[in-house]
Protein backbone atom coordinates (compact mmCIF):
# COMPACT_ATOMS: atom_id res chain seq x y z
CA UNK A 1 0.00 0.00 0.00
CA UNK A 2 1.19 3.49 -0.78
CA UNK A 3 0.07 6.10 1.72
CA UNK A 4 0.51 9.80 1.33
CA UNK A 5 0.29 11.76 4.56
CA UNK A 6 -0.06 15.54 4.61
CA UNK A 7 1.95 15.68 1.44
CA UNK A 8 2.79 19.27 0.58
CA UNK A 9 4.97 20.58 -2.19
CA UNK A 10 5.82 24.22 -2.52
CA UNK A 11 7.96 25.50 -5.37
CA UNK A 12 9.79 28.63 -4.36
CA UNK A 13 10.13 31.27 -7.02
CA UNK A 14 11.20 34.88 -7.30
CA UNK A 15 7.66 36.15 -7.37
CA UNK A 16 6.50 34.23 -4.32
CA UNK A 17 5.69 30.56 -3.98
CA UNK A 18 3.70 28.09 -6.00
CA UNK A 19 1.85 25.64 -3.85
CA UNK A 20 1.58 22.60 -6.09
CA UNK A 21 0.27 20.19 -3.45
CA UNK A 22 -1.31 20.98 -0.15
CA UNK A 23 -1.89 18.46 2.64
CA UNK A 24 -2.66 15.59 0.37
CA UNK A 25 -3.77 12.42 2.14
CA UNK A 26 -4.27 9.39 -0.03
CA UNK A 27 -4.07 5.61 0.32
CA UNK A 28 -3.46 3.49 -2.71
CA UNK A 29 -4.52 -0.07 -1.87
CA UNK A 30 -2.61 -3.04 -3.25
CA UNK A 31 -4.07 -4.37 -6.45
CA UNK A 32 -6.10 -1.26 -7.23
CA UNK A 33 -6.01 0.94 -10.29
CA UNK A 34 -6.11 4.40 -8.82
CA UNK A 35 -7.02 7.28 -11.09
CA UNK A 36 -5.93 10.79 -10.24
CA UNK A 37 -7.84 13.31 -12.26
CA UNK A 38 -7.73 17.06 -12.32
CA UNK A 39 -7.48 20.07 -14.56
CA UNK A 40 -4.19 21.26 -15.97
CA UNK A 41 -1.99 22.71 -13.27
CA UNK A 42 -3.89 20.98 -10.48
CA UNK A 43 -0.72 19.27 -9.32
CA UNK A 44 -1.14 15.79 -10.78
CA UNK A 45 2.38 15.46 -12.14
CA UNK A 46 3.79 16.89 -8.94
CA UNK A 47 1.84 14.28 -6.98
CA UNK A 48 3.16 11.35 -8.96
CA UNK A 49 6.71 12.73 -8.93
CA UNK A 50 6.52 13.11 -5.17
CA UNK A 51 5.43 9.49 -4.77
CA UNK A 52 8.64 8.39 -6.45
CA UNK A 53 10.56 11.16 -4.72
CA UNK A 54 11.75 12.55 -8.03
CA UNK A 55 10.52 15.71 -6.36
CA UNK A 56 11.26 16.09 -2.70
CA UNK A 57 8.06 16.93 -0.80
CA UNK A 58 8.25 20.12 1.23
CA UNK A 59 6.30 18.46 4.03
CA UNK A 60 4.59 15.18 4.68
CA UNK A 61 5.33 11.53 4.18
CA UNK A 62 5.21 8.92 1.49
CA UNK A 63 4.78 5.50 3.08
CA UNK A 64 5.56 2.49 0.97
CA UNK A 65 4.17 -0.54 2.78
CA UNK A 66 4.64 1.43 5.96
CA UNK A 67 8.21 2.58 5.25
CA UNK A 68 8.73 6.31 5.00
CA UNK A 69 10.42 7.01 1.67
CA UNK A 70 11.11 10.63 2.51
CA UNK A 71 13.36 9.46 5.34
CA UNK A 72 15.17 6.77 3.33
CA UNK A 73 18.91 7.02 2.74
CA UNK A 74 20.09 7.27 -0.87
CA UNK A 75 20.86 3.60 -1.24
CA UNK A 76 17.61 2.47 0.34
CA UNK A 77 15.72 4.99 -1.80
CA UNK A 78 17.21 3.38 -4.93
CA UNK A 79 15.97 0.00 -3.73
CA UNK A 80 12.53 1.35 -2.90
CA UNK A 81 12.29 3.00 -6.30
CA UNK A 82 12.81 -0.38 -7.91
CA UNK A 83 9.54 -1.53 -6.43
CA UNK A 84 7.80 1.37 -8.16
CA UNK A 85 7.75 1.39 -11.95
CA UNK A 86 7.02 4.57 -13.82
CA UNK A 87 5.87 5.45 -17.32
CA UNK A 88 5.57 8.86 -18.89
CA UNK A 89 3.66 10.80 -21.50
CA UNK A 90 6.78 11.12 -23.67
CA UNK A 91 7.85 7.51 -23.15
CA UNK A 92 11.40 8.58 -22.20
CA UNK A 93 13.11 5.66 -23.88
CA UNK A 94 16.85 5.62 -24.40
CA UNK A 95 17.11 6.55 -28.08
CA UNK A 96 20.45 4.86 -28.63
CA UNK A 97 19.29 1.49 -27.33
CA UNK A 98 17.07 -1.12 -28.93
CA UNK A 99 13.70 -2.00 -27.44
CA UNK A 100 15.18 -5.08 -25.75
CA UNK A 101 18.15 -3.12 -24.44
CA UNK A 102 15.77 -0.53 -23.03
CA UNK A 103 13.92 -3.24 -21.15
CA UNK A 104 17.24 -4.61 -19.87
CA UNK A 105 18.32 -1.16 -18.67
CA UNK A 106 16.85 -1.32 -15.13
CA UNK A 107 18.25 -4.85 -14.81
CA UNK A 108 21.72 -3.59 -15.68
CA UNK A 109 21.31 -0.97 -12.99
CA UNK A 110 20.74 -3.58 -10.32
CA UNK A 111 23.40 -5.87 -11.78
CA UNK A 112 21.17 -8.75 -12.78
CA UNK A 113 23.24 -11.44 -14.55
CA UNK A 114 23.23 -10.99 -18.29
CA UNK A 115 21.51 -14.21 -19.30
CA UNK A 116 18.76 -13.69 -16.79
CA UNK A 117 18.25 -10.09 -17.93
CA UNK A 118 18.05 -11.17 -21.54
CA UNK A 119 15.44 -13.78 -20.77
CA UNK A 120 13.41 -11.37 -18.66
CA UNK A 121 13.45 -8.81 -21.48
CA UNK A 122 12.12 -11.42 -23.90
CA UNK A 123 9.35 -12.40 -21.50
CA UNK A 124 8.31 -8.80 -20.96
CA UNK A 125 8.35 -7.87 -24.62
CA UNK A 126 6.14 -10.81 -25.31
CA UNK A 127 3.83 -9.77 -22.45
CA UNK A 128 3.36 -6.36 -24.07
CA UNK A 129 3.05 -7.95 -27.51
CA UNK A 130 6.24 -6.61 -29.06
CA UNK A 131 8.47 -9.65 -29.41
CA UNK A 132 9.13 -9.03 -33.07
CA UNK A 133 10.34 -5.48 -32.38
CA UNK A 134 12.99 -6.48 -29.85
CA UNK A 135 15.85 -5.23 -32.00
CA UNK A 136 14.14 -2.07 -33.23
CA UNK A 137 15.31 1.36 -32.04
CA UNK A 138 12.75 3.76 -30.54
CA UNK A 139 12.83 5.93 -33.65
CA UNK A 140 11.55 2.94 -35.59
CA UNK A 141 8.52 2.49 -33.33
CA UNK A 142 5.12 4.14 -33.23
CA UNK A 143 3.94 6.00 -30.14
CA UNK A 144 1.86 3.07 -28.94
CA UNK A 145 4.76 0.67 -29.45
CA UNK A 146 7.11 3.00 -27.59
CA UNK A 147 4.72 3.10 -24.65
CA UNK A 148 4.60 -0.70 -24.67
CA UNK A 149 8.38 -0.83 -24.48
CA UNK A 150 8.27 1.72 -21.66
CA UNK A 151 5.75 -0.44 -19.81
CA UNK A 152 7.91 -3.54 -20.28
CA UNK A 153 10.89 -1.58 -19.00
CA UNK A 154 8.97 -0.34 -15.97
CA UNK A 155 8.01 -3.91 -15.11
CA UNK A 156 11.50 -5.36 -15.47
CA UNK A 157 12.34 -5.21 -11.78
CA UNK A 158 8.99 -6.78 -10.85
CA UNK A 159 7.60 -3.69 -9.12
CA UNK A 160 4.51 -3.82 -6.93
CA UNK A 161 3.38 -0.45 -8.17
CA UNK A 162 3.24 1.29 -11.51
CA UNK A 163 2.88 5.05 -11.81
CA UNK A 164 1.59 6.42 -15.12
CA UNK A 165 1.74 10.14 -15.76
CA UNK A 166 -0.53 10.93 -18.71
CA UNK A 167 0.67 7.71 -20.28
CA UNK A 168 -1.91 7.84 -23.05
CA UNK A 169 -2.17 11.56 -23.64
CA UNK A 170 0.09 11.48 -26.68
CA UNK A 171 -1.80 8.61 -28.31
CA UNK A 172 -4.85 8.35 -30.53
CA UNK A 173 -8.10 6.86 -29.13
CA UNK A 174 -7.57 3.36 -30.50
CA UNK A 175 -4.01 3.14 -29.28
CA UNK A 176 -5.07 4.65 -25.96
CA UNK A 177 -7.65 1.91 -25.56
CA UNK A 178 -5.12 -0.83 -26.29
CA UNK A 179 -2.63 0.60 -23.80
CA UNK A 180 -5.38 0.86 -21.17
CA UNK A 181 -6.32 -2.76 -21.76
CA UNK A 182 -2.66 -3.71 -21.40
CA UNK A 183 -2.50 -1.87 -18.07
CA UNK A 184 -5.60 -3.67 -16.92
CA UNK A 185 -4.09 -7.00 -17.92
CA UNK A 186 -0.93 -6.20 -15.98
CA UNK A 187 -3.02 -5.26 -12.97
CA UNK A 188 -4.98 -8.48 -13.20
CA UNK A 189 -2.24 -10.94 -14.09
CA UNK A 190 0.71 -9.54 -12.19
CA UNK A 191 -1.23 -7.96 -9.33
CA UNK A 192 0.52 -4.65 -9.86
CA UNK A 193 -1.26 -1.66 -8.34
CA UNK A 194 -1.40 1.17 -10.86
CA UNK A 195 -1.70 4.90 -10.35
CA UNK A 196 -3.09 6.53 -13.45
CA UNK A 197 -2.68 10.28 -13.75
CA UNK A 198 -4.96 11.76 -16.36
CA UNK A 199 -7.08 14.71 -17.31
CA UNK A 200 -9.47 12.49 -19.27
CA UNK A 201 -12.53 11.14 -17.54
CA UNK A 202 -12.67 8.37 -20.10
CA UNK A 203 -9.43 6.85 -18.87
CA UNK A 204 -10.78 6.64 -15.33
CA UNK A 205 -14.04 5.11 -16.53
CA UNK A 206 -12.28 2.50 -18.57
CA UNK A 207 -9.94 0.96 -16.06
CA UNK A 208 -9.91 2.54 -12.62
CA UNK A 209 -11.23 1.03 -9.42
CA UNK A 210 -10.57 4.16 -7.38
CA UNK A 211 -10.34 7.81 -8.21
CA UNK A 212 -9.04 10.94 -6.55
CA UNK A 213 -10.07 14.33 -7.85
CA UNK A 214 -7.37 16.92 -7.51
CA UNK A 215 -8.37 20.54 -7.51
CA UNK A 216 -5.92 23.41 -7.19
CA UNK A 217 -3.34 21.39 -5.27
CA UNK A 218 -5.82 19.75 -2.90
CA UNK A 219 -7.73 16.50 -3.05
CA UNK A 220 -11.34 17.46 -3.53
CA UNK A 221 -12.59 13.94 -3.07
CA UNK A 222 -11.43 10.38 -3.37
CA UNK A 223 -12.87 6.91 -3.19
CA UNK A 224 -14.15 4.00 -5.23
CA UNK A 225 -15.06 4.96 -8.76
CA UNK A 226 -18.74 3.91 -8.42
CA UNK A 227 -19.17 6.04 -5.33
CA UNK A 228 -17.46 9.12 -6.62
CA UNK A 229 -19.17 8.85 -9.97
CA UNK A 230 -22.59 8.30 -8.46
CA UNK A 231 -22.40 10.98 -5.83
CA UNK A 232 -19.77 13.50 -6.71
CA UNK A 233 -19.63 15.85 -3.73
CA UNK A 234 -17.32 18.59 -4.82
CA UNK A 235 -18.00 21.18 -7.49
CA UNK A 236 -14.90 20.14 -9.38
CA UNK A 237 -15.89 16.47 -9.41
CA UNK A 238 -19.34 17.33 -10.67
CA UNK A 239 -17.78 19.48 -13.32
CA UNK A 240 -15.48 16.72 -14.45
CA UNK A 241 -17.87 13.81 -14.17
CA UNK A 242 -21.20 15.24 -15.18
CA UNK A 243 -20.47 18.53 -16.84
CA UNK A 244 -23.96 18.83 -18.33
CA UNK A 245 -25.59 18.19 -15.00
CA UNK A 246 -24.39 21.50 -13.70
CA UNK A 247 -25.93 23.30 -16.62
CA UNK A 248 -29.21 21.42 -16.30
CA UNK A 249 -29.48 22.47 -12.69
CA UNK A 250 -29.02 26.10 -13.52
CA UNK A 251 -32.58 26.65 -14.75
CA UNK A 252 -35.50 27.76 -12.59
CA UNK A 253 -38.62 25.73 -11.80
CA UNK A 254 -39.89 23.07 -9.45
CA UNK A 255 -38.00 20.68 -7.26
CA UNK A 256 -35.25 18.76 -8.95
CA UNK A 257 -34.16 15.26 -8.19
CA UNK A 258 -31.04 13.57 -9.37
CA UNK A 259 -31.59 9.87 -9.87
CA UNK A 260 -28.60 7.63 -9.74
CA UNK A 261 -28.37 4.27 -11.43
CA UNK A 262 -25.71 2.01 -10.14
CA UNK A 263 -25.33 -1.07 -12.20
CA UNK A 264 -29.04 -1.92 -12.29
CA UNK A 265 -31.56 -1.50 -15.09
CA UNK A 266 -31.53 2.12 -15.97
CA UNK A 267 -33.84 4.83 -17.00
CA UNK A 268 -37.07 5.17 -18.82
CA UNK A 269 -39.39 2.54 -17.25
CA UNK A 270 -39.15 4.28 -13.90
CA UNK A 271 -39.95 7.65 -15.38
CA UNK A 272 -42.93 6.47 -17.36
CA UNK A 273 -44.10 4.53 -14.32
CA UNK A 274 -43.87 7.72 -12.34
CA UNK A 275 -46.05 9.52 -14.83
CA UNK A 276 -48.62 6.73 -15.10
CA UNK A 277 -48.93 5.69 -11.47
CA UNK A 278 -48.55 9.01 -9.73
CA UNK A 279 -49.91 11.14 -12.49
CA UNK A 280 -46.99 13.50 -12.25
CA UNK A 281 -45.34 14.75 -15.37
CA UNK A 282 -41.58 14.72 -14.83
CA UNK A 283 -39.38 16.79 -17.03
CA UNK A 284 -36.13 15.11 -17.86
CA UNK A 285 -33.56 17.86 -17.65
CA UNK A 286 -30.52 15.72 -18.08
CA UNK A 287 -29.70 12.10 -18.61
CA UNK A 288 -26.42 10.35 -19.01
CA UNK A 289 -25.58 6.73 -18.64
CA UNK A 290 -22.27 5.08 -19.20
CA UNK A 291 -20.73 1.70 -18.80
CA UNK A 292 -17.99 1.44 -16.25
CA UNK A 293 -16.27 -1.83 -15.71
CA UNK A 294 -19.10 -3.72 -17.40
CA UNK A 295 -21.91 -2.18 -15.34
CA UNK A 296 -24.27 0.59 -16.27
CA UNK A 297 -24.09 3.76 -14.32
CA UNK A 298 -26.18 6.78 -14.92
CA UNK A 299 -27.45 10.07 -13.77
CA UNK A 300 -30.73 11.59 -14.59
CA UNK A 301 -32.08 14.90 -13.41
CA UNK A 302 -35.81 15.27 -13.37
CA UNK A 303 -37.98 18.16 -12.43
CA UNK A 304 -41.19 17.40 -10.56
CA UNK A 305 -43.88 19.74 -11.67
CA UNK A 306 -46.72 18.65 -9.38
CA UNK A 307 -47.83 20.14 -6.07
CA UNK A 308 -46.23 19.20 -2.76
CA UNK A 309 -48.39 16.17 -2.16
CA UNK A 310 -47.86 14.81 -5.63
CA UNK A 311 -44.13 15.34 -5.35
CA UNK A 312 -43.98 13.49 -2.06
CA UNK A 313 -45.81 10.59 -3.69
CA UNK A 314 -43.26 10.63 -6.47
CA UNK A 315 -40.43 10.34 -3.99
CA UNK A 316 -42.14 7.42 -2.32
CA UNK A 317 -42.61 5.75 -5.67
CA UNK A 318 -38.92 6.14 -6.50
CA UNK A 319 -37.81 4.82 -3.14
CA UNK A 320 -40.11 1.85 -3.51
CA UNK A 321 -38.47 1.06 -6.85
CA UNK A 322 -35.00 1.11 -5.40
CA UNK A 323 -33.96 4.19 -7.24
CA UNK A 324 -31.35 6.17 -5.41
CA UNK A 325 -32.06 9.86 -5.64
CA UNK A 326 -30.83 13.06 -4.24
CA UNK A 327 -32.48 16.43 -3.95
CA UNK A 328 -30.77 19.08 -5.99
CA UNK A 329 -31.60 22.71 -5.68
Amino acid sequence: MIELKNLTKIYPSKTGETVALEDVDLSIPDGSIYGVIGLSGAGKSTLVRCIDLLEKPTRGQVLLDGEDMTAAKKKRLSELRRSIGMIFQNFNLLEQRTAAANVRFPLELNKTPRGEAKQRAEELLSLVGLSEKAEAYPSQLSGGQKQRVAIARALATRPKYLLCDEATSALDPTTTESILQLLKKINRELGVAIVVITHEMKVVERICTHVAVLDRSRIAEAGRVEDVFSFPQSEIAKQLIIPNLIRSLAGSGGSKLRLVFRGGGSGEPVISGLAIECGIPANILFADTRRIDGKTFGHMVIELTGDQKQNAAAREYLAAHDVIFKEEL
Binding site: L80, R81, R82, M86, L93, P106, E108, L109, S139, Q140
Partner: protein
Protein backbone atom coordinates in the same frame (compact mmCIF):
# COMPACT_ATOMS: atom_id res chain seq x y z
CA UNK B 1 57.75 24.29 -58.40
CA UNK B 2 60.71 25.83 -56.58
CA UNK B 3 63.83 23.78 -55.76
CA UNK B 4 63.01 24.14 -52.09
CA UNK B 5 59.64 22.49 -52.55
CA UNK B 6 61.10 19.73 -54.71
CA UNK B 7 63.81 18.97 -52.18
CA UNK B 8 61.20 18.94 -49.39
CA UNK B 9 59.44 16.11 -51.21
CA UNK B 10 62.72 14.37 -52.11
CA UNK B 11 64.12 14.18 -48.61
CA UNK B 12 60.69 13.26 -47.21
CA UNK B 13 60.51 16.38 -45.01
CA UNK B 14 57.05 17.11 -46.38
CA UNK B 15 55.73 13.60 -45.69
CA UNK B 16 57.22 13.68 -42.24
CA UNK B 17 55.55 17.05 -41.68
CA UNK B 18 52.18 15.63 -42.65
CA UNK B 19 52.66 12.66 -40.38
CA UNK B 20 53.75 14.89 -37.49
CA UNK B 21 50.76 17.15 -37.95
CA UNK B 22 48.35 14.23 -37.90
CA UNK B 23 50.07 12.53 -35.02
CA UNK B 24 50.37 15.63 -32.85
CA UNK B 25 46.79 16.64 -33.58
CA UNK B 26 45.38 13.24 -32.69
CA UNK B 27 47.53 12.87 -29.60
CA UNK B 28 46.76 16.38 -28.33
CA UNK B 29 43.05 15.95 -28.95
CA UNK B 30 43.06 12.64 -27.12
CA UNK B 31 44.85 14.15 -24.12
CA UNK B 32 42.58 17.19 -24.22
CA UNK B 33 39.62 14.81 -23.97
CA UNK B 34 41.22 12.93 -21.10
CA UNK B 35 40.95 16.20 -19.16
CA UNK B 36 38.05 17.89 -20.91
CA UNK B 37 35.59 15.00 -20.84
CA UNK B 38 35.52 14.54 -17.04
CA UNK B 39 35.56 18.31 -16.67
CA UNK B 40 32.59 18.63 -19.03
CA UNK B 41 30.72 15.92 -17.13
CA UNK B 42 31.39 17.81 -13.88
CA UNK B 43 30.25 21.10 -15.40
CA UNK B 44 27.01 19.47 -16.51
CA UNK B 45 26.27 17.48 -13.34
CA UNK B 46 27.26 20.01 -10.68
CA UNK B 47 25.27 22.82 -12.28
CA UNK B 48 21.93 24.09 -11.01
CA UNK B 49 19.27 21.50 -11.72
CA UNK B 50 22.03 18.99 -12.52
CA UNK B 51 22.41 15.46 -11.21
CA UNK B 52 24.44 16.39 -8.17
CA UNK B 53 24.41 20.16 -7.79
CA UNK B 54 27.51 21.62 -6.14
CA UNK B 55 27.15 25.32 -6.95
CA UNK B 56 30.55 26.50 -5.70
CA UNK B 57 32.42 23.79 -7.61
CA UNK B 58 30.42 24.52 -10.73
CA UNK B 59 31.17 28.24 -10.49
CA UNK B 60 34.85 27.62 -9.85
CA UNK B 61 35.27 25.20 -12.76
CA UNK B 62 33.23 27.44 -15.02
CA UNK B 63 35.40 30.44 -14.16
CA UNK B 64 38.64 28.54 -14.81
CA UNK B 65 37.36 27.27 -18.13
CA UNK B 66 36.24 30.74 -19.15
CA UNK B 67 39.56 32.32 -18.25
CA UNK B 68 41.50 29.81 -20.31
CA UNK B 69 39.13 30.14 -23.20
CA UNK B 70 39.41 33.91 -23.34
CA UNK B 71 43.20 33.94 -23.61
CA UNK B 72 44.30 34.06 -27.27
CA UNK B 73 46.28 30.96 -28.12
CA UNK B 74 49.46 32.78 -29.05
CA UNK B 75 49.58 34.55 -25.69
CA UNK B 76 48.67 31.39 -23.83
CA UNK B 77 51.55 29.65 -25.53
CA UNK B 78 54.11 32.25 -24.50
CA UNK B 79 52.75 32.47 -20.98
CA UNK B 80 52.74 28.75 -20.41
CA UNK B 81 56.15 27.85 -21.79
CA UNK B 82 57.51 27.47 -18.24
CA UNK B 83 54.67 25.07 -17.47
CA UNK B 84 55.59 22.99 -20.50
CA UNK B 85 59.16 22.99 -19.33
CA UNK B 86 58.12 21.81 -15.89
CA UNK B 87 56.04 19.00 -17.36
CA UNK B 88 58.13 17.68 -20.25
CA UNK B 89 61.52 19.19 -19.43
CA UNK B 90 61.74 21.43 -22.52
CA UNK B 91 60.02 24.61 -23.58
CA UNK B 92 60.34 23.78 -27.30
CA UNK B 93 59.88 20.78 -29.53
CA UNK B 94 56.89 18.49 -30.17
CA UNK B 95 56.38 17.44 -26.55
CA UNK B 96 56.15 21.05 -25.38
CA UNK B 97 53.79 21.75 -28.23
CA UNK B 98 51.48 18.95 -27.15
CA UNK B 99 51.35 20.42 -23.64
CA UNK B 100 50.38 23.80 -25.10
CA UNK B 101 47.70 22.30 -27.30
CA UNK B 102 46.21 20.33 -24.45
CA UNK B 103 46.13 23.37 -22.16
CA UNK B 104 44.41 25.36 -24.87
CA UNK B 105 41.99 22.67 -26.03
CA UNK B 106 40.89 21.00 -22.77
CA UNK B 107 38.66 23.89 -21.58
CA UNK B 108 37.19 24.17 -25.04
CA UNK B 109 36.48 20.42 -25.06
CA UNK B 110 34.94 20.68 -21.58
CA UNK B 111 32.41 23.25 -22.78
CA UNK B 112 31.55 21.21 -25.85
CA UNK B 113 31.07 18.07 -23.77
CA UNK B 114 28.92 20.03 -21.34
CA UNK B 115 26.68 21.28 -24.10
CA UNK B 116 26.39 17.82 -25.69
CA UNK B 117 25.32 16.33 -22.37
CA UNK B 118 22.81 19.09 -21.77
CA UNK B 119 21.08 18.09 -24.99
CA UNK B 120 20.17 14.72 -23.48
CA UNK B 121 16.43 14.66 -22.78
CA UNK B 122 15.78 15.49 -19.13
CA UNK B 123 12.85 13.07 -19.22
CA UNK B 124 15.15 10.15 -19.98
CA UNK B 125 17.40 11.10 -17.08
CA UNK B 126 14.35 11.30 -14.86
CA UNK B 127 13.19 7.87 -16.02
CA UNK B 128 16.60 6.44 -15.10
CA UNK B 129 16.35 8.07 -11.67
CA UNK B 130 12.92 6.56 -11.18
CA UNK B 131 14.48 3.16 -11.85
CA UNK B 132 16.89 3.70 -9.00
CA UNK B 133 19.98 4.67 -11.01
CA UNK B 134 22.69 6.45 -9.02
CA UNK B 135 24.43 9.53 -10.43
CA UNK B 136 27.42 7.54 -11.59
CA UNK B 137 25.19 5.10 -13.49
CA UNK B 138 23.27 7.97 -15.02
CA UNK B 139 26.46 9.52 -16.38
CA UNK B 140 27.83 6.22 -17.58
CA UNK B 141 24.69 4.60 -18.94
CA UNK B 142 22.50 7.53 -19.90
CA UNK B 143 24.38 10.77 -20.51
CA UNK B 144 27.42 9.46 -22.34
CA UNK B 145 25.76 6.81 -24.56
CA UNK B 146 22.78 9.02 -25.38
CA UNK B 147 25.04 11.96 -26.24
CA UNK B 148 27.52 9.86 -28.20
CA UNK B 149 26.69 11.16 -31.68
CA UNK B 150 26.79 14.74 -30.46
CA UNK B 151 30.05 14.05 -28.60
CA UNK B 152 31.58 12.68 -31.78
CA UNK B 153 30.60 15.77 -33.72
CA UNK B 154 32.18 17.83 -30.94
CA UNK B 155 35.34 15.75 -31.19
CA UNK B 156 35.58 16.51 -34.89
CA UNK B 157 35.27 20.23 -34.27
CA UNK B 158 37.76 19.96 -31.41
CA UNK B 159 40.28 18.10 -33.51
CA UNK B 160 40.07 20.60 -36.36
CA UNK B 161 40.57 23.43 -33.87
CA UNK B 162 43.62 21.66 -32.41
CA UNK B 163 44.95 21.28 -35.93
CA UNK B 164 44.61 25.02 -36.40
CA UNK B 165 46.41 25.73 -33.14
CA UNK B 166 49.14 23.26 -34.05
CA UNK B 167 50.13 25.41 -37.03
CA UNK B 168 50.76 28.29 -34.66
CA UNK B 169 52.46 26.07 -32.13
CA UNK B 170 54.90 24.99 -34.85
CA UNK B 171 56.81 28.19 -34.20
CA UNK B 172 58.29 26.64 -31.07
CA UNK B 173 59.88 23.94 -33.19
CA UNK B 174 56.98 21.62 -32.68
CA UNK B 175 57.27 20.20 -36.16
CA UNK B 176 54.53 19.53 -38.66
CA UNK B 177 53.24 21.36 -41.69
CA UNK B 178 53.06 24.70 -39.87
CA UNK B 179 56.74 24.65 -39.19
CA UNK B 180 57.56 23.73 -42.78
CA UNK B 181 55.40 26.56 -44.04
CA UNK B 182 57.17 29.08 -41.83
CA UNK B 183 60.76 27.89 -42.02
CA UNK B 184 60.95 26.79 -45.64
CA UNK B 185 58.20 28.87 -47.15
CA UNK B 186 57.74 32.17 -45.34
CA UNK B 187 61.37 32.69 -44.34
CA UNK B 188 62.62 31.79 -47.86
CA UNK B 189 59.92 33.71 -49.71
CA UNK B 190 58.71 30.48 -51.32
CA UNK B 191 54.99 30.91 -51.76
CA UNK B 192 54.53 27.51 -53.36
CA UNK B 193 55.82 25.81 -50.19
CA UNK B 194 53.29 27.73 -48.13
CA UNK B 195 50.48 26.83 -50.50
CA UNK B 196 51.50 23.19 -50.60
CA UNK B 197 51.33 23.10 -46.79
CA UNK B 198 47.93 24.77 -46.89
CA UNK B 199 46.80 22.22 -49.44
CA UNK B 200 47.84 19.27 -47.29
CA UNK B 201 46.29 20.87 -44.22
CA UNK B 202 43.00 21.25 -46.05
CA UNK B 203 43.15 17.59 -47.04
CA UNK B 204 43.74 16.55 -43.44
CA UNK B 205 40.86 18.74 -42.23
CA UNK B 206 38.61 17.24 -44.88
CA UNK B 207 39.48 13.69 -43.88
CA UNK B 208 38.88 14.41 -40.19
CA UNK B 209 35.66 16.25 -40.90
CA UNK B 210 34.14 13.74 -43.31
CA UNK B 211 35.38 10.69 -41.41
CA UNK B 212 34.16 12.01 -38.07
CA UNK B 213 30.76 13.01 -39.40
CA UNK B 214 30.37 9.64 -41.07
CA UNK B 215 31.15 7.93 -37.79
CA UNK B 216 28.77 10.19 -35.87
CA UNK B 217 25.95 9.54 -38.30
CA UNK B 218 26.60 5.82 -38.22
CA UNK B 219 26.46 5.55 -34.46
CA UNK B 220 23.33 7.65 -34.19
CA UNK B 221 20.43 5.23 -33.92
CA UNK B 222 17.96 8.02 -34.44
CA UNK B 223 19.43 8.76 -37.86
CA UNK B 224 20.10 5.19 -38.86
CA UNK B 225 16.49 4.36 -38.35
CA UNK B 226 15.43 7.16 -40.65
CA UNK B 227 17.98 6.22 -43.29
CA UNK B 228 16.76 2.63 -43.15
CA UNK B 229 13.20 3.72 -43.65
CA UNK B 230 14.10 6.07 -46.48
CA UNK B 231 15.90 3.27 -48.26
CA UNK B 232 12.93 0.97 -47.97
CA UNK B 233 10.64 3.63 -49.39
CA UNK B 234 13.08 4.24 -52.23
CA UNK B 235 12.98 0.60 -53.27
CA UNK B 236 9.22 0.65 -53.61
Amino acid sequence: MSDVLISLFRDNTMWLGIWQTVYLTVLSTALAYAIGLPLGVLLCTTGRGGLAPVPWLNKLLGAIVNIFRSIPFLILMVAFLPVAKAIVGKSYGPAAMVVMLVIAAAPYVARMVESSLKEVDAGVVEAAKSMGANPFQIVWKVYLPEAKPSLLVGAVIGMVTVLGYSAMASTINGGGLGQIAIFYGYNNFKDDVIWMCVFFTVIIVQVIQEGGMFLAARTDKRLRAKAGRAKKCGRK
